[in-house]
Amino acid sequence: MLKHTISELKEALVCLEAGRVTLPYPFAPHAPEGEFRGKPVLNTRKCMSCGACGNACPARLISITDEAGVRTLRFELGRCTYCGNCRDACPQEAITLSQQFELSTASTSDLEIRGEFHLQVCRRCGAPIGTLRQVGVIRERLGVVPELQIADSGFLTLCPACRRASFLDNPALAVEVTRERA
């Protein structure tokens, strides 16, 4: 009996020493640690809608649909695991993971990010090649390599199939090929 009382007194002393440990959270904000990965944020100024994030996403929540000259990039963040693979895969560094964690919602449609980007269509067949921004980025990168500046930039507005076809239609190239065969 006495032993029990002493142990209880000991426990009371330990509690007194610890003081108040409960966080005042709902009444005062409690910011997460620096490396915390919260809701992904898409920087629509930098994004060129290439879809690299969609390939890297383990939950397959980033979808891309091409329709009527517009590419729609859609994040359904309801099933996001906050792994950060999309951020690491993005070549434009357009995705960052914010510190926001209070994401509770009554409807999963509130957890959606949607971006619409204009498409570059093939000037021969009209099939979509990529977004205007993607073509712009490639043109910019080709521009800095002096050997590639002579290349016909008209190929940039052709889809892969039309590019191949126009290459074969070029009579000068056809002659070269037949010579090699002979």
Binding site: A59, L77, Y82, C83, E102, S104, T105, S109
Partner: protein, 150 residues
């Protein structure tokens, strides 16, 4: 004042259901009950049977095996009741959203009052979600749309 408001005015007792979760969210739910977060000061209590519960805290993407048990638990909970989805799995199916073994999220099985996404959600996020279900705090997220202009 609706029946729900009257019942949930003071305290809410929750029953925790694991519907195929990996235990990550379950540990975070336990964490909210520790003295550090201490939800019991708001009257939120974990109970041992759904018959005492006001709300079901469901974790996991709802596997085929657990579906019937989940429905039985829901029926055993007295009305009015709230279903709160904790974690990314019950919210949208998580990384198992298209697996043959799961039903792809809690919304396909039960009517959900509040979703708390996170993998796992922080204990603070769970607190916030339960408070939102009770109408004490406002929702923070909303859908974002962007269209490029030429």
């Amino acid at each position: 004042m609706s029946a729900l408001d009257w019942c949930f005015k003071k305290s809410i007792w929750v029953y925790h259901v694991n519907a195929g979760a990996c235990n990550g969210c379950d540990i975070e739910i336990l964490d909210t009950l520790t003295p550090y977060y201490d939800v019991e000061r708001f009257g939120i209590r974990l109970v041992h049977t759904p018959r005492h519960a006001d709300a079901l805290l469901v974790t996991g993407p709802v596997t085929r095996q657990v579906r019937d048990r989940l429905l039985r638990l829901y029926d055993a909970t007295p009305d009015p009741k709230l279903v709160i989805a904790v974690g990314s799995c019950p919210t949208g199916g998580g990384i198992w959203h298209n697996s043959y073994a799961t039903l792809g999220g809690l919304a396909n099985v039960l009517p959900v009052a509040v979703y708390i996404p996170g993998c796992p959600p922080r204990p603070e996020a769970i607190l916030y979600g339960v408070a939102q279900a009770l109408g004490l705090v406002q929702q923070q997220v909303s859908a974002q749309a962007y269209a490029e202009v030429t």
